[in-house]
Amino acid sequence: GSVQGQDPGERPLELKEVFALFQAQYNRSYPSAAEHARRLAIFARNLERAQQLQEEALGTAEFGVTPFSDLTEEEFGQLYGHRTAAAGPPQVNAKAVAEEWGTP
């Protein structure tokens, strides 16, 4: 697919170049070469996943490179997901009362 920032007519960007663009765009750096390689592999898997989601999409949604493209699905869930609520809010009747200093 087309990559943001790529001029039409030029050769397709290689994975490492796309990853370098991602790092620059989202200000990502990694503490070691091993971690860089690991994140590059995750990034590549996510590009594949985005393409698959795009092909299978029922709506008009588009999927591609995002600030979270160097995270696994599990990491993304752990970092950004909150606790899953099974039951919902407890049944209470809460009412605000006026404070001593006069504001509602």
Partner: protein
């Protein structure tokens, strides 16, 4: 229910927030909800403190996650919220002492309510009262860049909701131009417009759209909103 509604056009939606690596979507969505309702109901643009919601939450978990109803409880218990300016967002994972009593309140609520789990009712309430918070399954948002997400329950389980966002409008259409990969935009579909808290570089300038009418990603599971003093109807542009 009008054909479309978009509260961003009324200038009542505060700028997109960025939660960074703090699991505070629940607090940010509650703050967004209160700010929008104050702008609609009182014509007052306020920016309330998310950090106060994190520090003073009854569970005391700060950035470890929470529920939107806990955020509303905190607002009720503290008789309002301080301003973002006075009590700024830190975005770190440390627990901080609640400093609610040290600052002047700039916004408060009368109560909060969970709306009926019905997308038509949600649209009606949204159009006449203002934005509401919803909790969704965020799985498909990781690699989302734009357009309307429509997913089956197996692709995005509506029972496993784990992310709170603000519902700010609805409409119909694809909203995407033809591309090389997709020469003709797919059929026009009804959608919800939602405000996220992952910065304005994500999605459609910080917003995203979900298909309306099919409980996509569990959108109708927990529709909650704060209530202000005046029970007045408003008109969504």
């Amino acid at each position: 229910v009008p054909l479309s509604c978009n509260w961003t056009k009324a200038g009542v939606i505060s700028p997109i927030r960025e939660q960074k690596q703090c699991k505070c979507c629940w607090a940010m969505a509650a703050a967004d909800n209160i700010e929008a309702l104050w702008a609609i109901g009182y014509q007052r643009k306020v920016s309330v403190s998310v950090q106060e919601l994190l520090d003073c939450d009854r569970c005391g978990n700060g950035c470890q996650g929470g529920f939107v109803w806990d955020a509303f409880y905190t607002v009720l218990n503290n008789s309002g919220l301080a301003s973002e300016h006075d009590y700024p967002f830190k975005g770190d994972r440390q627990a901080h002492r609640c400093r609610a009593r040290e600052h002047r309140k700039v916004a408060w609520i009368e109560d909060f309510v969970m709306l009926p789990r019905n997308e038509s009712n949600m649209a009606s309430y949204l159009a006449t009262h203002g934005p509401i918070t919803v909790t969704i399954n965020m799985k498909l948002l990781q690699l989302y860049t734009g357009g309307v997400i429509m997913a089956t329950a197996s692709e995005c389980d509506p029972r496993m909701v784990d992310h709170v966002v603000l519902l700010v409008g609805f409409g119909k259409g694809s909203g995407r131009a033809a591309t090389a990969l997709r020469p003709r935009p797919r059929q026009s579909r009804p959608y919800w417009l939602l405000k996220n808290s992952w910065g304005d570089k994500w999605g459609e300038k910080g917003y995203f759209r979900l298909h309306r009418g099919s409980n996509t990603c569990g959108i109708k599971k927990f529709p909650l909103t704060a209530l202000l003093h005046k029970p007045k109807r408003h008109s969504c542009p």
